[in-house]
């Protein structure tokens, strides 16, 4: 049902981009993955096009990024009529309480701390995919 819709991965670290795509592939998640290399790029991919761009089924959002960070992107997404219901999962290294609180306060749907071990990361991505791409009723 959601298979054609893409996932927007907002991540500035190239290794993390590759690892996340590797993990998605491992979990047989076939949705196209569009990558924004920082918050600025994410915002232009969501808003700055001639015709209204198709919205992703899910946004995987890193926090620590140069220029515009993940929190600012999230704020923008929630503040915009067209994107405010978009499922956003924060996918980050931090487990600091202030980051978790801030993420939820700004309207994140979920907060996942990327584990160091790749197998655990694959497991997290598998659950993410199952939940958000299979079972969850998408608002889009």
């Amino acid at each position: 049902m959601n298979k054609k819709k893409h996932i927007l991965l907002v991540e500035d670290n190239r290794d993390d981009v590759d690892l996340t795509i590797m993990a998605l592939e491992k979990c047989d998640i076939v949705n196209e993955v569009k990558v924004a290399r920082d918050g600025d790029e994410a915002l232009s991919m969501l808003y700055d096009t001639e015709e209204e761009p198709e919205l992703p089924v899910l946004v995987l959002l890193d926090i620590n990024m140069p220029k515009i960070n993940g929190f600012e992107v999230l704020k923008e997404i929630r503040g915009n009529e067209r994107t405010r219901r978009l499922p956003v999962v924060i996918l980050t290294s931090s487990r600091e309480v202030q980051d978790i609180h801030r993420g939820y306060d700004l309207g994140a749907n979920s907060y996942i701390r990327k584990p160091v071990g790749f197998e655990s990361f694959v497991e997290a991505v598998r659950n993410l995919g199952r939940y958000w791409l299979k079972w969850n009723e998408s608002p889009v």
Partner: protein, 278 residues
Amino acid sequence: MESWLLIIRNVHDETILYEQLNQALQEIRKLNASLEQKVKDRTRELEATNRELEAFAYSVSHDLRAPLRGIDGFSLALLEKYGDQLDHKGKDYLNRIRAATRKMGSLIDDILSLSRIATASLQKKPVDITVMSRDIFQSLREKEPERAAEMHISDDVKVTGDPGLLRVAMQNLIDNAWKFSSQQDVIRIDIARERNGSETRIAIRDNGVGFNMKYYNKLFTMFQRLHSGREFPGTGIGLATVQRIVNRHSGRLWAESEVGKGSAFYMVLPDHTETSQE
């Protein structure tokens, strides 16, 4: 006549004495004021250092973990995609890289939680150590159901302290008791509330391998281990964490042991009722 003179001299002396006293008093006040200022300055300095440490821990959590994920993930990718081009030794090296990466990941996590303990604000409440310990023990049993283990704890172990921090402390102590007794046929952990003179202590005893008191000064030091990682895995941060939690409560922590005869850990936490009597 003479007695009058004596009185006058006495009054004169008293006036001098009074002036001297007054001067001394003023000096004490001045000293007090400068001392207070000093305390304020020091506190501000310490608070600044604390904030710096927090910022440091924060950046550690972000910046050191990311490369580790890369090392582990790409090592696994090598193994899976190019494994057929590697011999046994090559694969073994990659697996060792991965094991070391995970080890470093858990070290980072431990350092982080230790630094959180140092800066977390203390919320003191009545804490039921009995219930807490049974809960911790139960989850250890569930994790290793094949182990024979028993724990004895009296119903009355109650203290005043921060519930979250005390759980971390008890978790570490009971984990240790379990881990270092794992070579016994039956793991035996005893927790008791004991009266020792004017203070009440919590004693946590096990029937494990114990340790040599010669190395006691290393017991509560970060990253210091008294057993090899092959024998008993660990990062060497557990007891340093417990020590820090007890310090935050202005309590005392110590241990007694003998090789092969189990260990005993003792914890004294100042209690509300006891401090109000002082």
